[in-house]
Amino acid sequence: MRKLTLLFLSICVFCALDTWAQNTVTGQVTDANGLPIPGATIKIKNSKSGTTAAADGSFKLNVPANGVLVVSGVGFETKETTVSGSTVSISLKQSDQSLNEVVVTALGIKREKKALGYSVTTVGKESLELRSEGDVGRVLNGKVAGLDVLNTSGISGSGTNISIRGISSITGGASTPLFIVDGVPFDGGNNASEGFQFGGGSTTSSRFLDLDPNNIESINVLKGLSASTLYGEAARNGVILVTTKNGAGGKLQKKKEITVSQSVFANRVSNLPDYQHTYGGGFDLVPSAAFSNWGQAFTNPPLQVAYSPSLQASYPDLYGNGAKQDYKDYANNVKDFFRTGLVKTTSVNITGGSDKASFNANYSYMDDQGFTPGNRVYKNNFGVGGTAKLTNRFTLNSVFNFAITDFQTPALGANSGGGGPDVTSVFGYLIFTPRSINLMGLPYEDPLTHSSIYYRGGNDIENPRWTAANATNTDKTYRSFGSMGLKYDLTKAITLNYRFGYDVYSDQTSLQVNKGGKSGGANYVNGLYRTSSIFNTILNHLLFVTYNGKLNTNFSLEANVGADFGKKTFSRDGLKSTYQTVYGLFNHGNFTSHDIYSEGGALIDYNAEKITAGAYFHGSLGYRDYLYLTVEGRNDWVSTLEKKNRTLFYPGVSASFIPTSAIESLKGSKAINYLKLRVGFSTSAHFPDPYNTRPSLAIATNAFVDLNGNVVNVGAIPNRLPNPNLKPELLKETEAGIEGKFWDNRISLDLTAYYRTSTDQILDRQLDPSTGSTVTQVNAGSVDNKGIEAGLGVTVFRNKDWTWDLNGVFTLNRSKVHDMPDDIKQIVTAGFTNLGTFAINGQPLGVLQGNYRQVDAKTGKYIVDDNGYYLGSSDIGIIGDPNPKYKLTGISTLTYKNISFRMQWDYTHGGVIWSNTVRTMLSRGLTKDTDFDRKLPYILPNTVKSDGSPNDYQQSVDNIYFNAIGFGPSDVTTWDATLIRLRELSVSFSLPARLLDKTPFGSISLVLTGNNLWYLAPNFPKYTRFDPESNSLGVTNYKGLDLFAGPSARRYGGSIRVTF
């Protein structure tokens, strides 16, 4: 490193000595209207020297004889002027980069942005590379207006929720947008084989994890429904269009470059509760091996208590024979459970080409160690792509990517927070560990049997350290995806295209629990091994013709007509074995009992196949470069519906108008550099999942084995009632927007308002079981989403050395359910029927319902029962709306020469969460929120008795917290989830190119990054330090329930990138 620095310094000295004969020139740089352009750069061609124009546009520079000045300004076209005197006046033409901006739209077709009648947001590689997260979804968080990202957990590799423009479908499954990678559909789903109660969604990855952010050239987010015209119904939730560096080689390029980057980040737990340090485990101020932390206050010297029976039994010499331990504050018992993980990413990219062909190849390796012991992700990504011009008319374009993603995490079931026979979860018994428990200082397993030992008298709960070491979910994927395209230029304007795309992966998931655990009941504690093998394929053929040309001097036409055919297959098989024979070995042969049902009771074997065919047209008529009208339409045929209903046509129309090109007086305006108005109406379709129209039977083999060993099998009629009349669903959207650049391009605005509605939804309509069935799929109910997406960019100042850019992203969405038929009371959309999210007429989609405190009509205060605890309702009611009111992101980028300082702040306003983590923290007396004098009796504040008189029922404070909060009505522990977060802070530095002229390096850059360095959720109890940005409901449309999802991650570190 030091040698390198010396080399740079000597180059600098050499540069400084490099002089010519020269004369001094003064001048002024102005725009077309004669107004000065401060900050314009004036350089001497073929030389290193130059200067910057002052506020009045003036400059002074030593120029060699016949020197050529290269003058440039942001928002202006660069101009070269030969100097012939000592003064010079230079007028720059405003650049029309906004006018010529090209974006990649559906099918990889590049279109001029000005012609688009809908909103597209582009995220460039600079916002994607060298990040501490390997998950593209999480990297995009806050960077795109209208895009909502929510983690299932802070566990590295756990699933991620993404949705665009709210949720349109009540029961249609997660609204994950369609991923299109290099023009080919890419499965971004989450192969959870279990419900959220069993860790579904968080113990399996969202499959866009298989993408490597370092290999992405750009991402275009197509938010509107118009994208679905070209991609079909799968695009109804928006499209995340990923162009990999390998796939970007659509144009021939001769640049040859090798890029190597290396990142190292530390991965730490970001939010542990602020525990109190006054009281220890127990109840009623009596120390004991309770779950709760309502024991006696710590004393000096500490009280001496016996070791737990299990410790004594396993280690009689150490902990038996009357040995005692201190009953004291083990202050870091939870904190020390976590570790600092390392996240290392190495990436190599090679690009090159000739006149006839170019290629790009990429390899990267990521090793992401979570902050939780036992959690890690390995990713290997390899890709190569290229373009070759075969003859004058044929062009071949091909991409091949291969990914291995290997994810492992300790078991992560949803947890009720105490006592209950929950499924095993590493966070289940961890976060509320009593303060007096020496979690890290004592053994967690028996030395001989390896069974879990812990502090409880009956040894009835699992030691989290045992869970981390012995209960593991694995998810390993081998994936290949890519495409081959052939283009034939029929005429100059007409091309014929064929593309074959594929995405094929095998996904091996398992749950491995050694025998000797304590959680989850007989199936778990005797050893459990469940393996599922998923094979998923998406094959896609696409044929299309494009026309792009001028019809006459005024009109131009860009048209595209095509047809595609896609096939998606999913198959899963596997086995669950229980009763492990030899500890530590996970092979089905080492288990005595074998079953076809997963731990949640679902049949592991499942096969599904779906084929779709589509035909579309798309035409955009341009008038004199400022008015564009686009008409499009698509017809889909999908195999999941009966013949009469399997087809749907859905059209769209949009227009865009560029006043700055059309209106003479606006041309060249300094205040309004660019303005575009757009309006569009588009539609999309939703077809159901397979097998909802035809009846079948259900068979359960091995339902019971009687006393004599006779196996009883049963036949049943499935509880899902088929609906042969099911129809596809039509979604409609109107959007209007303004895009503009103002004040010398210093301010940019992209504002969109949309109104989306989907009527007669494909609805999983739950039925009262007394109908004989529990669910059927019908066409009913509507959801409206209206919202605003805004992006605002401001260049606060820009001069020779300094640039300060501020970017804001604003997202607001309001949903409303309506037209639910009279015979439907409500739809449970997630969670439990008495505490979950619902679709109710007139309400936002996914409101949270639960039982609630009864309120005295006269005083407006909560009523208590005869014990002084809250009187709950017997029914459920709305206790909050988990949907945020709005989200705001602010990104500040301050650049000084080659150093750039970047901050991303995210703010989420509103939304509620019922948090079991916080509920447990409070009701078990763990955090500083309950660090008060616990000897005093307590009366629930602001309450009355059932007769309306003031509540005078005194109780011990732990009884109140335990019963009124811990077991109280659900609304007691529902909080507003407003959140402010410093999501990212980074400093990047790139060595000036001139320093590298004489070196083999093209560029060298360094980035230091910190993620999630600080956050505040001000409306949660202060010391619980709860992070609302996680979702225990898994990968789903719904949120608002936390069931010990675990803490979030904080990552910081650095990256270096070198190009050759």
């Binding site: 009596v286 004991s288 709760s292 070791y307 029976p309 004594q312 006592g419 008298g457 009956g458 009835d460 029929l490 014929l496 304590k518 009941g521 007989a522 199936n523 504690v525 005797n526 299309f544 013709v545 047809a563 229980t578 009763y579 009992s593 079953d595 074997d605 196949e609 035909a615 195999s639 999941t640 399997r646 397979p690 097998y691 129209t693 009846p695 079948s696 039977l697 339902a703 019971f704 009687d706 006393l707 009883v712 036949g715 049943a716 009629i717 509880n719 039925l767 009262d768 079981p769 007394s770 109908t771 004989g772 529990t774 059927t776 015979d823 009371k825 449970v828 029927t833 008495n834 017997s874």
Partner: protein, 565 residues
């Protein structure tokens, strides 16, 4: 432009042709490859479904009832808080989507094929389920139920109408079962496919219904007398209506659920047994009921002996057994059981909602009868799967759905209160004898005999002593009400393992009259006279609103609103 049109046409033709070609393929993907087709319907498989799900249903009904009658502890502490509406989702779903739906599908197919035993069994089990739904919830959907999308919001029928329909269905079942069947069921776990036993059950269920509704049915006496005269009731142990569990531990776990929850892991005993039930057997009569060691298993014979290594520390014990260090609640009447009973009978008081203490390896667990656990012969050993722990009868438990002893007790109640045929005292004693016979024979029936020491087993001597005691008690009772109390107490003891019958009896008669009061609060609110409606019912059915109080009475219950505790 012309060229463009040509190309467009070519593409269109290709597209249209392609779609036609794929239409057949599309059709082939409509049928679920993961499930068998409708043509594979099989009456035997359907009947197996009804048989197993009736057991699930009855077990759930029993488990929901048993904390209310102090068999297991009620957490509470108020009756209002005891059960959230989701507690009933499972039993509701099982009743309608498994028992009713499968039975409704099975009956016409079976009768068409002459499989009358199949259809008769389905009818009996359906009728039992219908009556039990009413017993638990009051008014429930029946006439509008199980119509699928034709009626997505079935209205509730009056409880008495559902009962009437169930009784008619039992009559129908008796007729059906009397016909010659073309085949016999392959997996009749209850009665091995013997139609006559099902007829006996059907008639006994009618008796049960008539006693149940005696407060609202003036014709009950004649109906009961007619059944007694007919003489085809479950009065012999061989006709007992029970479900015998298996011993397979997984894939599928066929063991008794009470066994699994206690002995199935090394975590120790699951639910707490009710202090009252332990007391009623071990203490109340002044001598130990001979069934006590069959019903309950003590992991620790002396919970206050600190030398027992499983009770390591006095502070821990103080936490685990907080009640032991507290005064008896002042609202408890004298002589009422409280906390741990001498001899290690460690249950939990009614309505004690304290956290679960570290007592899983020491508190009293379910015994051999009927859960398939261990006989208590003073092993003083914790239960669990590892070596050295007590495993008992490996889960070969039994669900005592309706026993011959129950028939005698119901007849005794009817004879005493309505003057139906028979002597109430003699019937009661027959019931007790039948219960002893049942319990004593049970371990042998599942090949479990860990000891032959008569000190721990039921012997004729002990039975005679017991019978004499109760006989004297009955004869000394001053009033019919006091006599009824003795009959129902014996019914209560004999019904151990079945929560439903005592719960029905208690609401019908308010007996036994000395149930333990709630421990942690003086006033638990009104006793649960019918359960809240299930969450899946009130939250998904437009025509139903949730009950707001706990004492909404079932139609056959005309007792005062606040008679019970």
């Amino acid at each position: 432009m012309k060229k463009l049109l040509i190309y467009l046409t070519i593409v269109s033709v290709i597209v249209v042709a392609g779609c036609k070609k794929f239409n057949d393929k599309f059709d082939s993907l409509l049928t679920d490859p993961n499930q068998p087709s409708l043509t594979s319907a099989d009456v035997d498989l359907y009947l197996n479904n009804v048989i197993l799900n009736f057991e699930n249903f009855h077990r759930a009904a029993s488990d929901l009832s048993d904390p209310l009658v102090r068999q297991e502890t009620m957490f509470g502490p108020t009756y209002f808080n005891q059960y959230g509406p989701t507690s009933f989702d499972g039993i509701w779903t099982t009743a309608y989507t498994s028992v009713f739906k499968t039975a409704n599908t099975l009956i016409p197919i079976a009768e068409e094929k002459g499989q009358y035993t199949h259809s008769g069994i389905a009818k009996v089990l359906k009728a039992f389920t219908m009556m039990t739904l009413v017993d638990l919830f009051g008014d429930v959907p029946y006439s509008e139920a199980n119509l699928g999308v034709e009626n997505t919001n079935p209205k509730a029928d009056k409880g008495q109408d559902v009962y009437a329909a169930a009784l008619a269905l039992l009559d129908d079942a008796i007729t059906t079962l009397g016909k010659d069947a073309t085949s016999s069921p392959g997996n009749d776990i209850y009665y091995g496919g013997t139609a006559s036993k099902w007829i006996t059950l059907a008639k006994t269920l009618e008796l049960r219904a008539y006693v149940q509704t005696r407060l609202v049915d003036p014709g009950a006496k004649d109906k009961i007398n007619a059944l007694i005269a007919d003489g085809d009731l479950i009065t012999d142990e061989s006709n007992d209506f029970t479900f015998q569990y298996g011993s397979k531990a997984s894939a599928p776990d066929s063991r008794d659920g009470r066994y699994v929850g206690n002995y199935g892991t090394d975590n120790g005993a699951g639910a707490y047994l009710g202090t009252y039930a332990l007391w009623a057997l071990a203490k109340e009569k002044g001598f130990m009921d001979p069934r006590t060691r069959y019903y309950f298993y003590r992991q620790c014979l002396n919970p206050t002996d600190y030398s027992d290594s499983r009770l390591p520390d006095q502070t821990t014990l103080q936490f685990a057994l907080a009640c032991y260090y507290r005064a008896v609640p002042p609202w408890y009447p004298a002589g009422s059981p409280y906390c741990v009973l001498d001899g290690g009978w460690w249950g939990r008081d009614h309505g004690n909602n304290e956290g679960t203490g570290p007592d899983l390896l020491v508190k009293t667990a379910w015994g051999v009868y009927p859960a398939g656990g261990a006989l208590d012969y003073d092993q003083n050993t914790s239960i669990g799967q590892s070596a050295g722990r007590e495993l008992g009868a490996k889960g070969l438990g039994m669900e005592p759905i309706f026993l011959s002893s129950f028939t005698y007790f119901l007849q005794a109640e009817a004879a005493l209160t309505m003057g139906t045929a028979g002597d109430p005292e003699a019937l009661m004693l027959q019931g007790i004898q039948a219960s002893f016979d049942k319990v004593a024979a049970f371990p042998g029936s599942i090949n479990y005999s860990p000891t032959s020491d008569t000190a721990f087993l039921i012997t004729d001597f002990k039975v005679q002593k017991y019978l004499t005691y109760v006989k004297n008690q009955y004869e000394a009772a001053a009033s019919d009400d006091a006599k009824l109390n003795i009959i129902e107490k014996e019914f209560y003891i004999a019904a151990w393992g079945n929560g439903l019958e005592p719960y029905n009896t208690y609401r019908r008669t308010a007996k036994p009259d000395n149930f333990q009061l709630t421990a942690n609060i003086a006033d638990p609110g009104a006793f649960i006279r019918s359960f809240f409606y299930p969450s899946v019912y009130v939250n998904l059915n437009k025509n139903i609103t949730q009950k707001t109080v706990t004492n909404v009475k079932v139609f056959w219950d005309t007792n005062p609103d606040n008679l019970y505790h």
